[in-house]
């Protein structure tokens, strides 16, 4: 990536992450669409021998041999038996039966997490700079589990199985599916086994936002990552015939439009189809579109596909307008014709002009790359949101990281739009999704792991979460792109990742396998369900009182029953001091008077490596309410140097 290292402060962190052998001993496994090994991001110059712990290998298949691997890309495997059992033999004329990435997604995620430093990177001159992954000295192992027809659970499980055997340290999964209970979800089950082996599993939260309860990958042993914007944009202004300007974004680079205003038409008025406004394939009337710029509404079909539809109907360019589903969030695309994307409000204003002017005209002015955009980060509208639909007492997502307009490596088997008709080939592509934010956290986790090799996955996650920030430098709270208002822990979890602070978090909330087993007991899982999930006979003790609220999680999700429930809820936590001896004071801030929050003890004095517990008591002062209400608060432990923060959601 060419901007996130600066955005995250990694460019000033050389002394925090020395180029020691421990940083190059960390191996990031990426389950995805495979890998494009020729990417410069996998240059192994200066990398030492492959870690002795590594048991993986590079498998041979279509256009891929062991020679495609090196000291950077140390593993590449593919898992297609489940896919082929379901859909028949792979057509090798259409996709590579090998670790080779024909899609681009897997190369993008792997290079985001671990890519080497590549000067002079850009997409058609957009987002220029030196590209690098988050953990430049870590090693990459690619596990191809996603194919043209999708990613199947039997293949995903086989890849996790192999990654455990191979000895990866971090697993990055930018995929998800459904909202099954943990004992029915292969990613959750496989991740449990990986966690047991000390592997940190980072998963994307999903792109089903901004709807509530839209998260995937919510098991507490998984780090669930939502997406935020960077301080970078790709403006492409729309100037309509009445002289008014509207801001849009675009990654179009190609033949320029004439400098004079061009005829402008709404797609809905250039079609005989009731859904003509969406610029679906075959719906535009060429006689009405030819020689004009066409305004299409976003939705149903791919954004770049709409551009192809306009182009094939003879249109000169496209303005793509958001609908209420997307609000004002702008996602830039490398369109095949001059095109720009505008927000819902801008789109409505432009449509008003289109419907009122008998001879509407428009100009699109492409302005390249701009950095320093504020406020940033803003929670991406598409980023999936809490509450957690499986266990509402566990607050998810865990945190957010950059996931909008991210430049990273790409496959040379596909163009930047992913369309079959896109014959362009690029070294780097700019795309958006929680798929992109997840590998940021995977790479950052690898960095933390290299600085603290003995830390558990839970300790690494805790460090990332408790040091995440929830306010801009001017003190204002993080915003949500979907609403334009302040975001909440259901949107951003603990906040935006801050890797420099995460290296020295002061205190961590650690978790062991036994803690997770107690959590399963607290969920009243049957013996069969626990054995299915945890691969062992585990008997919940009938005399022991298990409580989901006591899972030593770095965040709090408090549930009050709307009727008949107690109006006091207690959560107990254990903090481990990973810094020097120190005294920490607690501080609680809350946006609601409906609940009283008290911490006992209020002060914790730690020796080195000492553990101390505390209890937070939440007292609902409103009595039982028949309505579902959410409020939010924050608990911090401060010693004058470190701030160990935890988000709190409170629901009635």
């Amino acid at each position: 990536t060419t901007r996130t290292p600066q955005f995250l402060g990694l460019d000033k962190s050389a002394d925090l992450f020395p180029e020691s052998s421990s940083s190059s001993d960390v191996i990031v496994g990426v389950l995805d669409t495979g890998i494009w090994p020729e990417s410069k991001s996998f240059d192994d110059t200066g990398m030492g021998p492959i870690p002795a712990t590594w048991k993986g290998e590079c498998e041979t298949g279509t256009n891929f041999t062991t020679a495609n691997c090196n000291r950077k890309l140390i593993g590449a495997r593919f898992f297609s038996k489940g896919y082929e059992a379901m859909l028949g033999p792979i057509d090798e004329s259409k996709e590579s039966k090998s670790p080779r990435d024909d899609d681009g997604h897997g190369t993008h995620t792997a290079t985001t997490a671990s890519g080497s430093v590549v000067p002079g990177a850009s997409l058609f001159g957009f987002a220029p700079g030196t590209a690098r992954g988050m953990a430049t000295r870590s090693r990459v192992a690619a596990y191809k589990v996603c194919w043209l027809g999708g990613c199947f659970s039997s293949d995903i499980l086989a890849a996790i199985e192999q990654a455990i055997i191979d000895n990866v340290n971090v697993l990055s999964l930018s995929l998800g599916g459904g909202m099954s209970d943990y004992y029915r979800d292969s990613v959750a089950i496989g991740s449990f086994a990986a966690m047991e082996k000390g592997i940190l599993i980072s998963c994307s939260a999903g792109n089903a936002g901004p709807s509530s309860y839209s998260l995937s990958n919510v098991a507490p042993w998984i780090t669930t990552v939502g997406a935020g914007t960077l301080d970078r944009d790709f403006p492409a202004e729309v100037i309509i015939g009445n002289g008014k300007n509207y801001s849009g974004v675009s990654l179009y680079r190609g033949h320029a439009l004439p400098d004079t205003p061009l005829p402008f038409i709404y797609a809905g008025n250039a079609s005989n189809s009731s859904s003509g406004n969406l610029c679906m394939m075959g719906t535009l009337t060429p006689e009405k579109v030819a020689g004009k710029i066409v305004l299409c509404d976003r939705g149903v079909s791919a954004r770049v596909q709409k551009g192809v539809v306009v182009k094939s109907a003879g249109g000169l360019g496209m303005v793509l307008a958001n609908t209420p589903a997307n609000g004002e969030e702008l996602v830039a695309d490398a369109h095949l014709l001059p095109a720009t994307a505008v927000g819902e409000k801008e789109g409505d204003a432009i449509k008003k002009y289109l419907f009122s002017d008998p001879n509407p005209t428009v100009k699109i002015v492409f302005q390249g790359t701009k950095v320093g955009i504020q406020p940033s980060p803003v929670v991406a509208a598409f980023s999936s949101r809490g509450p957690n639909s499986i266990t509402p007492q566990i607050l998810k997502p865990d945190l957010i990281a950059p996931g909008v307009n991210i430049l990273a490596g790409w496959s040379k088997n596909v163009g930047p739009t992913g369309l079959a008709s896109d014959n362009r080939r690029v070294d780097f592509n700019i795309i958006s999704g929680t798929s992109m934010s997840c590998p940021h956290v995977s790479g950052l986790a690898a960095l933390i792991k290299s600085a603290h090799p003995d830390w558990s996955p839970a300790a690494v996650r805790s460090a990332l979460m408790t040091t995440a920030y929830t306010a801009y430098k001017n003190g204002l709270s993080l915003k949500d792109s979907a609403t334009g208002k302040q975001s909440t822990p259901f949107d951003h979890g603990a906040g935006h990742v801050d890797p420099i602070s995460a290296v020295n978090p002061g205190l961590v909330y650690d978790l062991t396998v036994d803690d997770y087993l107690s959590f399963l007991c607290a969920l009243n899982y049957s013996a069969v369900q626990i054995t299915t999930l945890a691969r062992r006979k585990f008997q919940c003790e009938p005399s022991k009182k298990y409580n989901v609220n006591d899972l030593n999680y770095p965040s709090f999700a408090v549930l009050f029953q709307t009727t008949g429930g107690a109006n006091i809820v207690k959560h107990t936590r254990v903090l481990t001091n990973v810094g020097p001896a120190s005294v920490y004071n607690s501080s609680v801030t809350s946006d609601s008077s409906l609940v009283k929050i008290s911490v006992e003890p209020q002060v914790l004095s730690f020796r080195e490596n000492e553990k101390k517990s505390y209890t937070v008591t939440f007292t609902s002062t409103s009595g039982a309410t028949t309505q579902s209400v959410n409020s939010f608060a924050r608990l911090e432990w401060l010693d004058g140097k470190n701030v160990v923060g935890s988000p709190i959601s409170i629901s009635w």
Binding site: C146, L157, T434, V528
Partner: protein
């Protein structure tokens, strides 16, 4: 019957493997053969889960699930890139 076959992930309690088997793969094959003439192991797992993946009819899956040591027979799920 072949057309209605689906992929299932079969979770087993490895501790309940009969002593007559000296390797879990043999147990899995035997269990499969007892419910299906044609089913084959697609994958066997020992680290991510204890169990295997196979193609079965719904009736075969149901029959397998009732066997001793079989914890769950879960249908294949499709995941999507984010």
């Amino acid at each position: 019957s072949l057309a209605e076959k689906k992929t299932y992930i079969v979770h087993v309690a490895k501790s309940e493997m009969p002593e007559s088997f000296n390797h879990h793969t043999l147990w899995y094959e035997s269990s499969l053969n007892s419910v299906s003439d044609s089913a084959q192991l697609i994958y066997t797992y020992d680290n991510a889960i204890h169990g295997f993946a196979t193609r079965l009819t719904p009736e075969e899956a149901s029959s397998l699930e009732s066997q001793t040591g079989i914890l769950a027979v879960l249908p294949e799920m499709k995941y999507e890139l984010h």
